[in-house]
Each structure stands twice: as C-alpha cells, then as structure tokens.
C-alpha cells in the first residue's frame, strides 16, 4: 500500500451501495465514487435518453429531475444521489400517454435533430415545478441552461409556454 500525502495508508477504492427511486421504481445499485449520474444512467442502466453533450454543465442535454428539481446529471456524482427520487425523460410519460410537455414539443415542432430535446423537456418540467415563469420572457431566461444548436428556440419557447399550465408536479416534491 502506498501512503497518501497526509501520511495515512491508502485504502482500496470501493463501490458504494445506493438506493434510488428511478422513474418510479425502487433501485438498489452499487457505484464507484467517481461515476457521474449521467454515466450511471447511460452506461449501467441503459437509459440513454439523457444525453452527454458537453459533459461540463454548459449545454443542459443531460438535464434530469432530482426530487422534482432540474439538475445537470453530468456534474452530479451518482453516489451522492443515495435516497433520491430521480426522473429522466424515460419516466415522464404515463404508459402510452405522453406528458403534456412532450405533447407540446411535438405539436410545436420544437426540435430539429432532437439531441437536446430530452434535456429541454426535463428542464421545462422542472421549470413548471418551480412556478417562477409567468411570461414568454421569463421562460426564455429560465430555459437558458439548455442550448439548442439547431436554433429551435422559438418553437421550444412556444411549446413550453403552452404546456406550463398543464404540468402538475412531477418527480417528487422538493
């Protein structure tokens, strides 16, 4: 065993058990400390709806809901989500019934390539949970954490504006 700079003997790196409510299901998992929530979802759980755009919290493509609040999964350690209620894009629909925000994105053609769309929709649902956006300008400002390189912003804003009133709290009460 090598020594760490503070003189203590190095311990082996160990996986940590965590328990999540993921899209309504109880999940007991084991994660290495440096695994991000985004990598856990995509690489270990095959939930590939959340996208890895920049992997630095700048684009918002990885946005998911933790206890009802929108966060960047790429800048979140999975081990720090122990006990959390998580909702990804895969968990928004009720069976075959799309979430009102998903329906609005289709109605308003609020995407082109679609890569940013899962993050946009999860972010918009988080926006609805916050209850702070009351007009188009506020929606625009409070959706600024989600970039769309196709530039579908006008239609995204129209979709969010239409669906906001129909969104009830999703993903657990904060």
């Amino acid at each position: 065993m090598s020594a760490t700079p503070n003189g203590a003997a190095a311990q082996p790196f160990v996986a940590h058990p965590i328990r999540l409510t993921l899209n309504g299901q109880d999940r007991q998992l084991s994660v290495l400390p440096w695994t991000t929530l985004l990598d856990l979802l995509r690489e270990q759980l095959d939930l590939v709806g959340s996208k890895k755009g920049c992997d630095h919290g700048q684009c918002g493509a990885c946005t998911v809901l933790r206890d009802g609040k929108r966060i960047n999964a790429c800048l979140t350690l999975a081990v720090m989500c122990d006990g959390a209620e998580l909702t990804t894009i895969e968990g928004l629909a009720d069976g075959d019934q799309l979430h009102p925000m998903q329906q609005a994105f289709i109605k308003h053609d609020a995407f082109q390539c679609g890569y940013c769309t899962p993050g946009q929709i999860c972010s918009a649902v988080g926006l609805a949970n916050e209850g702070r956006a009351h007009d188009s300008a506020q929606i625009q400002e409070l959706m600024s954490g989600n970039l769309c390189r196709c530039g579908a912003y006008n239609n995204i804003r129209a979709a969010v504006e239409e669906a906001l009133p129909a969104c009830s709290n999703v993903g657990g009460k904060p």
Binding site: T4, P5, N6, A8, A10, Q11, F13, H16, L32, P33, W34, T36, D55, H56, G57, G60, T63, K69, R70, I71, N72, L75, T76, L77, V79, M80, S123, G126, L127, E130, R132, Q140, E141, L142, M143, S144, G145, N146
Partner: protein, 329 residues
Amino acid sequence: MNPFQYSKPADVHEAVHLSSAASRFIAGGTNLLDLMKENISRPEHLIDITGLPLNAIEETAGGGLRIGALVSNADLAWHPLIEQRYPLLSQAILAGASPQLRNMASTGGNLLQRTRCYYFYDATVPCNKREPGSGCPARTGLNRIHAILGASEQCVATHPSDMCVALAALEARVHVEGRGGARVIEFADFHRLPGDAPQRDNQLADDELITAIELPADNLARHSHYLKIRDRASYAFALVSVAAALELDGDEIIDARLALGGVAHKPWRDRAVEASLIGRTVSRETFSDAAEALLQDAEPLQHNGFKIKLARRAIIRALSDAAVAGEQP
C-alpha cells in the same frame, strides 16, 4: 477524473476531522467536478457534506439573516426573506449560471468557485494559480476577460461569482469551522488578491469548512441594483458587474455600497469611494465622480482596456438604477 475515496460524515466535527491537504469537501460539485474532469483538481478523497445540518435560513438577534452553507443558490435567491430584505443578493444570484446549476450549487461553494481563466483551465500550459512558479500566459496572451484592478505580475485572473459581489456590498460575514474551532471572517477579508501566491484564492485553511453566511441588518433594500454586463443575454460570466445600494433621505445619500465583479481576483470594493458619496445628492455627476475614483488605479492589459470604460458606465447606470429602484412609476 482520478479515482478517489468517498466519505459522507454526519456532522461538522466529523467532516473537518476527515479533511486533509489531499481532500476536498463537496456539496453541489458544479465547479469541483468540472475541474476534476479537466484534471485541474485531483483530490484523493471527497468528503460529501450534503448530510450536514447546514440547510436553514434563520433570523439573527441583530435583525439580519444567517444562511446555512448548504442552502442552494436557487433556494436562496427565491427565499421570501431574501427577496424582501436583500433583493440585491437575489438579483445577483439569478444573474449567474443556469437554473440547473443554481439548483445544485451551494451557498458555501459559490464562494469557493475558481477562476474561469482559460489558461488556468488548460492543464497543457503554465499557470501560476495551478502550478506556482510556472508562469502566467494570460499576462501577454488572450486577456480580454481578465483583471483591471488588483492584479499582480503572477496572476491576472478574476473571481467568477455574481453572488459574492452582492455579499461584498452587503458586508456579509463568513462563518467557518476547522479542527481548531470556529471563526468569523469579514467578507472583504475572505478572498485574497493574487500577489505572489495566486494559488490561494481565499483565507480558508485546508481543514476549514464554511458553515454559514451572515447578513447584517441594513436599510439598503429599497435602493439597490445588480447590473451584469456579459457577452450574451444570459448564462455567461460577467465582463463587468456592479452591485450598487443606497440609503437615501430624499435626494441625499445617507449610506452607499458599491462592489464590482469581473474586474479583479476578488469582488472589488473601495470604502473611501463609498464614504465620498455620503452627504452628496443623487445625480449623474455624483455617480460619475464615484466611478472615476473607483477606477483611478485600473490598469489595462492588451485586450481588456474596454473594461475600464465599460465599468465606468456600468457604475453610473447601476447607481442611477438603484436610486430610482423602489419608487412608484
């Protein structure tokens, strides 16, 4: 990201006793994990402090507020007592980052953000802040976003926080706890100028943890304004920002606070300039004089000279907007 040990202590005492020079505390992680992905920060041990009981916003006996270090930036900005008594702080927080990041980032962590200097973030080039003694490519390189005040030969980086600019203006106090006990640091003393030790952003010791931010009572809520100038309309760091707050009796200035962001290694405040405003009347000339005085020692680098003119105009506008804030239209 390098492998690391992970611990989640249940109280502050345990947290500070787990810490070492090779460990880092983690709460929101929005800056630390980013730095770890770039191999700028390589801690051997992360101490998850999100289980500590530091989540409350409480009224103090003196009429101020005590904000737990783990309160998220979003919860702080939208707390009714903050919106009502310290709207300057609310505005500054909401001018920074994105809604997702504000949901994650903690109050304590916001103070500990590292600079966004491109050279600091690029492990392939020298940087005195990252590797003391290696040099500063920003001084002669791409320095459009860099400091115009308080810089040194060693470092021209700026502090990136908006929240801290408001906290400086509001004369917040930083409560910290380490193995040797607790202490309180005046906000003006918390962050450092780079000098010849730019690797040190602030006065915290390795074992010290921020536990709370205290806001003293004041009469500045009515006439305050946070103005942020940046390269795009939202979700960008400040080129220049101004936290301005006035206490007025009619048109006469009773008290004044003025802090700048985006221009120095720490939120920039000059108490002599604030004092010079007291007793004067609200006017463009008064505010212009303050701007000139605050910027008299500003030194441009090759690409950031525009910041001096920009800061002068931003100060005048922020003070003017603060003076009319709270008035009926």
